[in-house]
């Protein structure tokens, strides 16, 4: 009984270690190819358009409603404590620009584009299309992984900036409609308190999130085993791991940025 439990635990540890090692090798290979080889720019642009167009309506809508609910809660709380809705623009903009827009955009993109990438590459793996790439003289890391990695690095920061603006717009809508806050007051709340470094704080995090979501999605795709069931498992796994890692790394990225005074 104890032997079985230890055996199962040991196998899981070994499997997790092996997977971590494979992930590190894929990351090394990706960075190695980017430094030393010709980049597939056509494929990269296709991915930029695909990820951007697929994800922008969802990320914008998510940010818009997040901004709305932030304004609603902030207004309600400050009315409760101060009898008037103070600093709604400040709270909405700080929360969105530094935290919520980067994190929520990364999570939505992981669920939308990350899942699509894992499913596409996973299907290619189980139907031998990855092997076909090798036999036709190219490396799947170069042809599949690097274009998606670069595309994420371009698209995620852009989507996050769009989310910043749509979220603030959503916040203003509620601040004005619900609490009667004029546009000038809402705007002054933002510009009087926010500095460029606050924007940079959130913006830099998006590169960490882009790297993790793209690499996890591609890794789960290229390591898919079995048939349709394997593709389903890889896709689910890619999304879950990406989302968890985004939240975990958000903490560490924030700590590092704070340590460097970018806060």
């Amino acid at each position: 009984m104890i032997g079985d439990i230890l055996g199962t635990f040991g196998r899981r540890v070994l499997s997790a270690s092996e997977e971590t090692g494979q992930f590190a090798l894929l990351l090394r290979s990706t960075l190695g190819w980017m430094v030393g080889a010709r980049i597939e720019w056509r494929q990269t642009m296709i991915q930029v358009v695909r990820i951007g167009i697929e994800s922008s309506p969802v990320t914008s809508m998510t940010a818009f409603f997040t901004g709305m609910v932030l304004a609603l809660q902030t207004g309600a709380s400050s009315k409760h404590f101060f009898n008037e809705p103070l600093f709604v623009g400040t709270v909405v903009s700080f929360a969105l620009v530094m935290e919520l827009a980067p994190v929520m955009t990364a999570i939505v993109v992981a669920g939308r584009a990350g899942a699509a990438i894992a499913a596409e590459i996973g299907t290619m793996k189980v139907t031998e299309q990855i092997d076909a790439l090798y036999t036709l003289g190219t490396d799947p890391v170069r042809y599949l992984v690097i274009p998606r990695f670069i595309a994420f690095m371009i698209v995620l920061p852009l989507l996050t900036v769009i989310s910043d603006f749509t979220g603030i717009a959503g916040g203003y809508l509620v601040a004005h409609a619900k609490y009667g806050i004029p546009a000038t007051v809402f705007w002054h709340d933002i510009v009087n308190n926010m500095e460029v470094r606050h924007f940079i704080h959130g913006f830099l995090k998006t590169f960490v999130f882009a790297a993790i979501v793209s690499m996890v999605s591609c890794f789960k795709g290229v390591t898919t085993r079995g048939g349709a069931e394997g593709v389903g498992k890889a896709t689910t796994s890619a999304v879950v791991i990406s989302m968890v890692l985004v939240l975990v790394l958000d903490y560490f990225a924030t700590a590092v940025l704070n340590a460097f005074g970018i806060t």
């Binding site: 299907t123 139907t127 031998e128 299309q129 036999t135 036709l136 003289g137 490396d139």
Partner: protein, 265 residues
């Protein structure tokens, strides 16, 4: 010439190839026959460098694929091969002509302006036309196989490796594919290895045949010799009989399964 010596390949605890010795002469078509899981496709993937053998050597025109270290060396080695995958492995997102010419960009210096014409020529060689702009999803199983064959020959390889080229096709289409393999061998003088279960196709296309069993080569001979082989394993396989030494493995498995079920282990 392809010359494999003592090739061993394992995946985890499972040893698939247990010391394969096999030679394929230039210009010949060698058909590898054998039951499922006997290591035929694994051997093919070792030859093209998709799998690295645990031990042994595979010399192709004097180059030992097992000793190639860098990606560039392996990519250069693969230039001499065309590979037909079991299910075709066409790229879903590309059209037929993009599939056929995909490898030209990486394997040759041919200018991209000529790709479309080359695709049409390759399609003509496999008996197809006017489907250049179709997507793989719009093709039948037989057409997919022929497009995959056109892709395999587009870069004018010296060797073609066919992984079960007639599997999943109706008998007439299987015969069409066998004819194509023969035609290509005669027209392009390509050296080929054909992995197949289809004895009719194997007899038709092969200059020689090799019977694999449990990761070893059981017999290599001319098709006429294989046809009258006295080796019980070869005999059973070519006659397609359920009774014989190959069946014994299944019985052993059943016996093992039944003892496990009764907790005897």
């Amino acid at each position: 010439m392809i010359d494999a010596e003592s090739v061993v390949k394992s995946f985890g605890p499972r040893t698939i190839l247990r010391g394969v010795d096999l030679r394929v002469e230039t210009g010949e078509t060698l058909a590898i026959i054998g039951g499922s899981g006997c290591g035929k496709s694994t051997f093919l993937k070792c030859v093209i460098g998709l799998h690295r053998p645990d031990s042994g050597t595979i010399l192709v025109d004097g180059v030992d694929v097992t000793r190639l270290k860098t990606e560039a060396d392996i990519a250069d080695y693969r230039r001499r091969f065309g590979y037909l995958f079991q299910e075709g492995a066409l790229f879903d997102s590309m059209t037929v002509w993009e599939n056929i010419t995909f490898g030209l960009r990486y394997l040759t210096d041919i200018p991209s302006g000529k790709y479309r014409r080359i695709a049409s020529e390759c399609l003509a060689l496999v008996g197809l036309k006017d489907i250049e702009d179709f997507k793989p999803a719009e093709l039948s199983g037989g057409m997919k196989k022929r497009v995959a064959l056109a892709r395999a020959i587009a870069a004018q390889p010296s060797y073609i490796l066919y992984d079960e080229p007639t599997t999943g096709l109706d008998p007439i289409m299987s015969d069409v594919i066998s004819d194509l393999i023969l035609d290509l061998q005669q027209q392009l003088k390509i050296t080929a290895i054909v992995v197949t279960h289809d004895m009719k196709s194997a007899y038709k296309v092969a200059s020689r045949m090799a019977m694999f069993h449990e990761g070893t080569v059981r017999q290599v001979a001319h098709p006429d010799i294989i046809r009258i082989s006295t080796d019980p394993y070869v005999r059973q396989f070519v006659d397609g009989l359920s009774q014989g030494p190959i069946k014994m493995k299944l019985k052993e498995f059943e016996a093992e399964g039944s003892s496990l079920a009764h907790g005897k282990n």
